[in-house]
Symmetry: C2
């Protein structure tokens, strides 16, 4: 009757959230490379919402460090420097050691089964693209974090893991997932056994080797980074530009 004003409000539209998730995924699967432009109009049109919503979503992603938001300029997918990437991994190591410390010996049978199932999926995806492997590997770590039942920890682990994903697409050589997968299995085993010290060390080693495999060159400053290097200097100058950077072949002409 007229007495039921909202029939299925539970469908909480949450358009901003939807767009955030979509963009996040697109970014970590490298469908959107670092530096890719994200105009509000285009996003809005693509997702069937107004600029307002797209804008709001970009704001959230900027808060997570996945998107760079410069005033009056088109938003772009973040391009972390090599040092920032290293910092992100350092933080991630500590956070995820905390995760496994809290989890060691406390997992239920069904949780362990769930973890194993996920790694099986990773295994199955080995034939597919790198992007999918990387996403699945990342989701394994997020799954672990979720099992702590600590929303804050989940948030931070997710964020920093996504950031690390982003850097993989920048600095990584072709991803080799074999070792990552076996290390995931080792971590599950140690968690089940409840060996806290062991699993913390395993996690450190795992993430450290991922980082070292990813961040190959100490500070190579490849290609288009030149633009970003000069950006802060140019921004310092308030009114007029210093040099008009000659053509350096932007990501793609």
């Amino acid at each position: 009757m007229a007495a039921r004003p909202t029939r299925k409000t539970s469908k909480s539209s949450d358009k901003v959230g939807v767009i955030c998730r979509a963009l996040r995924r697109a970014i970590i699967e490298q469908a959107l490379e670092p530096g890719a432009k994200l105009p509000e109009d285009a996003l809005g049109e693509r997702f069937g919402v107004s600029r307002t919503i797209a804008r709001h979503a970009l704001g959230q992603l900027a808060g997570e460090g996945l998107v760079e938001l410069r005033r009056n300029r088109i938003a772009v997918v973040a391009t972390p420097s090599w040092q920032e990437a290293r910092d992100a991994f350092d933080i991630r190591i500590e956070l995820e050691r905390l995760v496994v410390r809290q989890l060691a010996g406390k997992l239920t049978k069904s949780q362990i089964a769930e973890l194993n199932a996920h790694v099986d999926a990773e295994d199955r995806a080995r034939g597919g693209t790198d992007a999918v492997s990387i996403r699945l590997a990342t989701e394994f770590h997020i799954l672990l974090a979720q099992m702590t039942n600590s929303p804050i920890l989940v948030r931070y682990v997710s964020e920093v893991a996504y950031r690390c994903c982003l850097t993989l697409s920048l600095y990584s050589r072709p991803h080799s997932s074999e070792c990552a997968i076996s290390e995931h299995r080792a971590i599950i085993a140690a968690l089940a056994k409840g060996d806290e010290a062991k699993v913390m060390e395993l996690m450190r080693h795992h993430l450290d080797s991922v980082a070292n495999r990813a961040l190959v060159a100490p500070v190579p400053q490849r290609g288009r980074d030149l633009l970003d290097i000069l950006a802060p200097y140019a921004d310092e100058v308030t009114g007029d530009r210093v040099v008009k950077l000659p053509k350096v072949g932007r990501s793609r002409p």
Copy 2:
């Protein structure tokens, strides 16, 4: 000279940022208690901007965990559960240990002077209100983080420190700043000496004792928490409400 289109674009209005900072500060100084309502209209009017901007700012703060955003409802200052507070402190300990690990033995003379000056300020503020003491103590930790030159670390330490501030106002007994201040001094000394292990242990002990002083009761579930406890249950039911919570004396009538 009509050729100078932008005279001082550096005045980047950044209204959203201004509001965020203002609200953040109001929250950590307990001018806005947990649970306080934050209607978009009111904020917009207060800061001389439109609802759009206020809304955007609330979105950012929600991302930082300082504000709770429920669909179609007025935003409120976040009310972390006791467990979330404990989790936040655990994360904070690990992050700040990372900070001092990176900083040990690497501080310049002027940086050490800056830290000492800050603690002096904390000392001077001992006569003032708790709110200011807490804010200064928190800012000491953020200052440390900034000296790592790692934007990511700064962001996470700041966020989690603000969250902890929030919990202090919920669960803390009257703040006694003496020991905190002396511990800050001890940390500076150990940093200057470059004793990495020592300073990491100092930081752990410092934050742990702050947490223990703050989170006194294991899980007392005081007063208005009742509402929050029942909230998820009520939300599960889509259409109609289960019970109409009787008067429980909301924050203030």
